[in-house]
């Protein structure tokens, strides 16, 4: 501009002012769009960088950050169910030769299987390299003796609401267990203790918490979230609209 603005012009412009409000809104929209498209990568990088910090943070506050690779506790009922280790019983029944009722001690007496595998939620968070100990479902099914004609399992939680389903073939895999230890200790109440299911190759909602009953059946009844639209076969990386690398 060659000429200095007149007094009137200057006043008018300063009253109008710069459209900072619009800039803030547009910046937020732009950042948001970048975050949606690239957030997958950004999050993975941040998690890698921040893991030493979150693992050594005595306050636990950094674990609240959305990047911390931490478990998020989901429960569909209130209050969260509670059962002591001595009161706990696991039933295996339905189409079996010998129904089983096992205490926690009974489970611990059986040959343990250990796994170190990721826990991946269908909503996008993943906890890397979780240490699991438990009894393979296959071993329990063999002990009870599956009757011919059976095709599926119906799994029941003692929260009174949550259920899950597996095909017998899926349940017989060597990475599907009734787990009584995770994260280097007994399965805590919030993680579904004393005993929970762990279905390593599938998203977390298949790994039913507070496992109470394994019912052998000859038909499919979709589980809790499956009745609400989630895939019944929840293979990590190959279901629920996702194709991320399988663990």
């Amino acid at each position: 501009m060659d000429q200095p603005p007149s007094e009137g012009e200057r006043r008018e412009r300063s009253e109008a002012g710069a459209p900072v409000g619009r800039r803030i809104v547009l910046s937020m929209l732009g950042l948001g769009a970048v975050g949606v498209v690239a957030g997958d990568q950004i999050q993975a990088t941040l998690e890698e960088v921040l893991r030493p910090v979150t693992e050594n943070d005595p306050t636990g506050l950094t674990s609240l950050a959305p990047t911390a690779g931490r478990f998020r506790i989901y429960t569909v009922v209130n209050p969260m169910p509670e059962r002591s280790e001595t009161d706990y019983r696991l039933t295996v029944d339905g189409m079996v030769d010998t129904p089983l009722t096992l205490s926690l001690a009974d489970l611990r007496d059986r040959p343990p299987t250990e796994l170190v595998r990721d826990f991946q939620c269908v909503t996008g968070w993943r906890v890397p390299e979780v240490h699991w100990t438990g009894v393979l479902l296959r071993d329990l099914l063999d002990e009870a003796g599956v009757a011919s004609g059976a095709t599926h399992l119906r799994l029941w939680s003692f929260d009174g609401a949550y259920t899950e389903s597996l095909t017998l073939e899926q349940a017989r895999r060597d990475d599907v267990m009734a787990a009584y230890e995770m994260l280097d200790g007994p399965v805590s109440r919030e993680h579904g203790g004393p005993v929970r299911l762990y279905v390593a190759p599938m998203y977390g909602y298949k790994s039913l918490k507070w496992l109470e009953r394994i019912e052998v059946v000859d038909d499919l009844t979709p589980g809790y979230w499956e009745m609400r639209g989630y895939d019944i076969d929840a293979w990590v990386g190959d279901s629920n609209g996702r194709d991320d690398d399988p663990i």
């Binding site: 300063s14 002012g17 803030i24 929209l29 990568q41 609240l64 909503t123 919030e190 609209g241």
Partner: protein, 232 residues
Amino acid sequence: MTPSEPLTADPADPTLPTLGAESGDPAPASGVARILRFTRAERALHWATAVLVLTCAATGMILYVGELSALVGRREVLKTIHVYAGLALPVPLLLAYAGRWRAAVRRDVRSLARWSPADTTWLRSFGRRAADQVGKFNAGQKANAAFVAGLIPVMLATGSIMRWFEPFPLPWRTGATFVHDWTAIATWVVVTGHILVALSKPASLRAMVTGRMSRRWAQRHHPRWAEEASPG
């Protein structure tokens, strides 16, 4: 409402109260000069948005913080409340622009959106300098309004991708969760700050409740607006 009362105010009848046209109301007889700061439509916009944001923030926090999720449970109910409160977020703003009361809303949105150099000075000095230049809104109020205006579409879009993920490219669900989480944390900080400032400035808070502000407060904190504002 009795059957004799009209369902809608007749704009031709000056005796009927109309939304957003309160400047014609008689001044209170208390003796303190009070000026109209917010019309009824503007206050309704503010408080309806406030209720929705707080509902989303409370339910969102319970869904997000594991200890609270474990304490409260009832995930399906919380999710439903959170989603519907979120979907309703832009509704008050749309309604505020939908009627005759929009003139005052539009005027205030315009003065919230424009920043003078004095606003920058004011903000950088935490309100100590350029206080004599402040108009109807100070730079803190402008920043808060802009943040909320950006927050609503960002949360609506990312929340929708999280909830109805099927049609979207696959990693977007993780990306949307990532943006939704961080924006939620920023919202908690900004909203907490907004409430603390409001509680520390009762006259401003009262203006958002009653619509009116004493002329003395306006002259001290919003001098350039007090010059032009007409008595309430």
